[in-house]
Amino acid sequence: MFRNSYDNDSITYSPTGRLFQVEYALEAIKQGSAAVGLVSKTHAVIVALKRSAEELGSYQKKIIRIDDHLGIALAGLSPDARVLSNFMRQQAMSSRMIYNRPIPVSRVVSAIGDKAQRNTQIYGRRPYGVGLLVAGFDETGPHLFEFQPSGTVLEYFGAAIGARSQSARTYLERNFEQFHDASLEDLVLHGLRALRDTLAQDKELLAQNTSIGVVGLDLKFTLYDNDDAREWLEKLGDVGSTRGRQLPDEPEPAATEDAPVTDAPPPEETDTVEPIETDA
């Protein structure tokens, strides 16, 4: 995978029709810690695991509020997320100023999708190295979108990105039928359980490393961090990793393998030691 001669720039196809730089950008997302999102018929929730570079350092912010009705969770290069979130804020502000309406979630997400796509088709530019889960509420209800550096933007009932996110995805797949009619509290607890499944062995969800964002009908986007997160974790109860425990039907994830950018199912990840870096 790392010996390709067609990966020097973002605008060169390989003979099999792949853009390797874009795929490498997706790898950057997998290095970041996990973020999970899910929707019910009234709310959208995003939860994320924060990482700190060293014991005495702060934890990297993983959830950003864009507007009263919109927020994002990021995984990957956080400076790229900052740039994209500032752009989204400008779009949201512009919609309120010109039309006096909160920007429809699908439109702001199309705007960053188009922005990201440009960087895959202009010489000299690099694709954004961050994946986003965009949670928002507009006239057509609550929405959850996943944004990728390729410019692909898809809407989901439940989604997970970042390191060991396949475990979260498995939880979401098993439980998604309960999400639609879930109360806000149940929805958040589902999200936290999915996030818990991404923890490395012997780690746990703590107030300092867990971030929760909720938005919905009659509820402006609200961020729960630190002490506010603690209240949710107390409701959750068991905050420890499930890895290393004997669970009959959950095999350990297999090693990473190559996968094309677009439609193929996502590859499973290696369960490596967490890399020492400041990016989320």
Binding site: I98, Y99, N100, R101, S106, D138, E139
Partner: protein, 260 residues
């Protein structure tokens, strides 16, 4: 030596100030214009199930009644009507802007559409920005439709960027002659709940008659638009003032106090 050719031959910056390159690409300077072809009053009144507007079909060239088939009530999107008075070419430009706005809004087909409050905000931004460039669109505009909570929406914006909202609004001469008559049936916010469609229509017809008597730049042929809170828009055209009495004209000699 200054090696930049674009600076050769220029006066010294330290004496005359730094050269502003924007001069090179500037268009003609436009200042406050005069309107040329104009439309007169637009009237509007909220009622229990929506909003009703009226505007005559005259486009005047100063004191010449030049065009008698000018429609000044514009349907925008599915549920909004915009009534425009003032310069007709600026009205046509606004019509173009609104048409493009709706077309672009419909690209996505995502269930999100611009409604009256959004169109009103958009036009307010356009009008205010033009006035801030001292190049106004010489109009007074009424936007009618429904609010997000389902109640009737009516807003006014003009060439100065002034905006306001009330149960009854009129532009031009209508502000002096029609508003007092309309306020007899709806003077405060909330009064519209007690007004029926027939009452609203009767009030507008009466006002259009009064305006034809007294506004020297008006016409007796007009259009009436109804926008309901169910989202239905109807524009009735070629309505004429009824039961007018011009017998007083018989006795008039000259102007003012002359009797012979």
């Amino acid at each position: 030596m200054d090696h930049m050719p674009e600076n050769w031959g220029r006066p010294r910056s330290d004496v005359y100030g730094v050269y502003n390159p924007a001069i090179h690409n500037a268009g003609p300077t436009t200042h406050t214009q005069q309107p040329s072809i104009t439309g007169t009053s637009v009237l509007a009144i909220k009622y229990n199930k929506g909003v009703m507007l009226a505007a005559d079909n005259l486009a005047s060239y100063g004191s010449l009644a030049r065009f008698t088939d000018q429609e000044r009530l514009i349907k925008v999107g599915k549920e909004t009507v915009v009534g425009v008075s003032g310069d007709v070419s600026d009205m046509q430009y606004i019509q173009l802007l609104l048409e493009r706005l709706i077309i672009e809004d419909n690209y996505e087909q995502d269930g999100h559409n611009l409604r009256a409050p959004h169109i009103y905000e958009y036009l307010s931004r356009v009008m205010y920005n033009r006035r801030s460039k001292i190049d106004p669109l010489w109009n007074a505009i009424l936007v009618a439709g429904k609010k997000d909570d389902g109640s009737p929406f009516l807003g006014y914006v003009d060439l100065l960027g002034v905006t306001y909202s009330a149960p009854t609004i009129a532009t031009g001469f209508g502000a002096y002659l029609a508003i007092p008559l309309l306020r007899k049936i709806a003077s405060d916010d909330g009064d519209e709940k007690r007004i029926t469609e027939q009452q609203a229509r009767a009030a507008l017809d009466e006002c259009m008659k009064v305006l034809f008597y007294r506004d020297a730049r008006s016409l007796d042929k007009y259009s009436v638009a109804t926008v309901t809170t169910d989202g239905e828009v109807t524009i009735e055209q070629n309505v004429r003032c009824q039961d007018m009495s011009w017998r007083f004209a018989d006795h008039i000699r000259g102007y003012g106090t002359q009797t012979m």
